[in-house]
Symmetry: C2
Subunit: 216 residues, 2 copies
Amino acid sequence: MRISELSATSGVPIPTIKYYLREGLLPQGEHTGATRAEYGDTHLRRLRLIRALLEVGRLPVAAIGKIVAAVEDEETPVHRMLGTAHYALSPPVETDPADEVYGAARERVDRLIDGLGWQVTRGAPTRDELAQVLMRLEQLGRAADEDELRHYAETVMGLVAAYEMGKVPMDGPREVAVESLVVGTVLYGKVFDVLRRIAHESASARLLGIPPEPDA
Amino acid sequence: MRISELSATSGVPIPTIKYYLREGLLPQGEHTGATRAEYGDTHLRRLRLIRALLEVGRLPVAAIGKIVAAVEDEETPVHRMLGTAHYALSPPVETDPADEVYGAARERVDRLIDGLGWQVTRGAPTRDELAQVLMRLEQLGRAADEDELRHYAETVMGLVAAYEMGKVPMDGPREVAVESLVVGTVLYGKVFDVLRRIAHESASARLLGIPPEPDA
């Protein structure tokens, strides 16, 4: 298809498509003339991935470039490719390795993950991210208890393993797997978060014996 | 204590304290002279609350003002006071009541909450927030299944009821309850979110049969 049709089918404006082509996020079409190029399903799939990373993941274009490179390099194993996308979704955490308080929090995280028997690389930025939240809780006098954390982690894994992981289509095109991971991670993360806040309201109403609203 | 001591004890700089006094976030001290005022534990507690709302909750000063007003007005029941803080933590959601797709998503949320027997006001902004995420999932071809959502919700409630709600000290000073709710909601929300992403990495490694890293 022509670029105009690619734009109409994908809903992405032509100037935006041209920008993605220049930035190397979208592979060039097949040239069929001096000023003509043909685009196909690969381009449509890639545009969907880019939009998911931008709009759902809210990732900067530079991060998207790295993910696209991992998708394109068939030598990159699937797990590493998904890891690239996954880690890009984690906010960068500034850590001072010499900071003892931070070091202690990070050790607790490592112990937790080891204790659970989970398979997570030592360099995963999510370890630092968790250590930082634990540190903050401690500073505010709300240090998380180890058994409690473990129970949280096991419950969360139950949901992830049962409902989320199975939805990532591992045997289809590589970009479809990444897109699915990003959408799932970001949007199911929000579902989780909102449900937690809704549950809080209900638990608080019950605890304080608030009478229910009359039906409208 | 004098303002200088209040600053030293709380770690909040004097100009910031003066700003909070001007904005009405912090009650005036007891005047003991033309240019002197005495501050006490109420002020220390209030400063802790303001910092928690600002730094942990990342709330704008206007939202903090509303929460402080609910804390100060002893006529406001505790549940409503906590609700004010809680709802302030929800991002505003723009909804078009005439939008049919949105209406259907919102109906699914209401049905879910009714089915669970949770006690949540009809006007809770969290209902709209969840409806919006469900709509987005649907648009991306990943519509959440009703049984799945219900199971998520029940699991989340299990954690909230067992670990989080009991930690809000309901019978102490009103600002302490609000502070505890905000810190718990925001920081435990992050613990949850990071643990989910860590669980994803491990589940993906297992699913794809990735060999574990050798020990360093």
